[in-house]
Symmetry: C2
Subunit: 349 residues, 2 copies
Amino acid sequence: MSRYLIYAEGQLGTPSAKTGHSVIRYSAPHVAAVLDSTHAGECVSDVIGFGGDIPIVGTIADGAEQGADALLVGIAVAGGGLPTGVRTAIRQAIECGLDIWNGLHTFVADDPTLGPLVREHGVTVHDVRRPPDDLPVGAGRVRALTQTIVLAVGTDANIGKMTVMLQLRNALRNSGTRATFAPTGQTGIFIEGWGLCVDAVVADFIAGASEAVTIKAAEDSDIVLVEGQGSILHPGYSGVSLGLLHGSLPHALIVCHQPPRKTFRHNAWLEIPPLNDVIALHEAMAAPLRPASTIGVSLNTSDLSDDEARRIIDQVAQQTGLPTTDPVRYDATPLVDAVLAFDAKRRAF
Amino acid sequence: MSRYLIYAEGQLGTPSAKTGHSVIRYSAPHVAAVLDSTHAGECVSDVIGFGGDIPIVGTIADGAEQGADALLVGIAVAGGGLPTGVRTAIRQAIECGLDIWNGLHTFVADDPTLGPLVREHGVTVHDVRRPPDDLPVGAGRVRALTQTIVLAVGTDANIGKMTVMLQLRNALRNSGTRATFAPTGQTGIFIEGWGLCVDAVVADFIAGASEAVTIKAAEDSDIVLVEGQGSILHPGYSGVSLGLLHGSLPHALIVCHQPPRKTFRHNAWLEIPPLNDVIALHEAMAAPLRPASTIGVSLNTSDLSDDEARRIIDQVAQQTGLPTTDPVRYDATPLVDAVLAFDAKRRAF
């Protein structure tokens, strides 16, 4: 796997560097350095509170000196295209012989100036939103697996579906369980070094892509934790979420919710239904293909006080009858135990 | 709109010319001729039983002489690429100054030999599976329309969802109602001369594409009949179907079913659930965004005897409590009446 130099120029510690932050949090051993000249010389943890002593550098060359062999574009960009700063950094990285990991909608390999430079320097470009051209149409192939498959679903997009699965992966591995994470979005792909953006494929192939990523993640694993996307009720992304559900055919679901959120992201007209209704709809839509049990609730309480958060966690646990926690703020243990108990019960049959 | 020469060489009257047959059935005034040298000189109705006196010709030039100004590739092709016969016909058509309508996965405009020829001859190529590059992410924009929106849904793919809406469009227009058909797949697009293949867009844009096509179809219309795609329980295509449901936000649903079919197409492992369950699931998945009422059942009884068909239509009407018919074999009236009654009731509020 690559050793990343994460591009976050002028943005480390801000919301637009969220992708970079997640890679630092969940793939720190693969991060050689972060590029942000406004913090050059500091450590990552000085700026964002985690990430230990990963150095922050001011130039591509300094990043390479820290052992990086790839530049990772770790920021979000509004609209299409490559902003000048990103473009310059990619050019310099290619000239330094670094590979490129890019999750933006604009593909580096297709760029009229960067593309030829890539080929000239013989570096590898991972435009992770580019779909492979050999995807199958989904046809329930996951049923051939013996592994336990768990999918994160949610009441909305951008609510903690990737995060809970990564927390679970870490905790399960620490407990000696062979658990793998199946990355279905760009940040997850950066963290694992492989995967498939299921929202970037041609619509006919959502389930097929979800199958492919689930089957690959199942190699050398007993429990596959599939990264969720969107929500089956999101006005823009529901198709992706349902294709992922029907492609990955999970045995178990972990449902994610952000308690203070009342309406869907970018869709203030649409109220988020009660959590129990969302759970029932997921199970109803999964059942005809393969029954899925909801085994836990992951809450994102980052906007709440400690008191409020603990109160809401208790309340949701009571309402749903399910193990409930904020696995980042508090402890993933209730969900880890739920996964292990479900897996043991399933294998006992 | 174009006057088509439908390419069906050696295949008119066979299942692989299904697309061409549908265009003849529902867009006959726009069909100048059919190309199939094995039937040259005959009329279309001689071979397929409908299509009246549309002439069958043996060459592109003869088709142009019949008034065609566009070649329509009206056959299905297994796999990618353009078969030699199709390629030759397209080349000759371009050289004759005909536009091209192509629904295959391979795009004519991108072909290394045909592309330059297109530009040289100044003809227009409609590669109808190529998505536009300015699609929005779905966000419930259809709510701004005042028109009544009806969507065809189904227990499976390839079950009559396009057909019932075209039968309804014709019958409603004959009754003096301003009804339009919103084409979401290649055959529908050929029939109407515009539309959007919602299964060919990048997954993030399924609902956005469905919104766009619904909004456009609503111009100069009182009732919009949205062509359905796939099934929300199909292992391969469910994402497309749900994105279409959440993008078009129908007020009313017509559910399509083929009674003898027990398992999903290309998925013999998966039983089709009872029709009432499929209806309930659609309504449950629509409700949080906008409630949709199922107002009728369209059955495809083409595999059944007349006795069996009539018995099953009665049985399904009783089971579902809904107006039920085979609108091709018998009479679309029960569904036409259901649409008009629903529309009147909705406007009365």
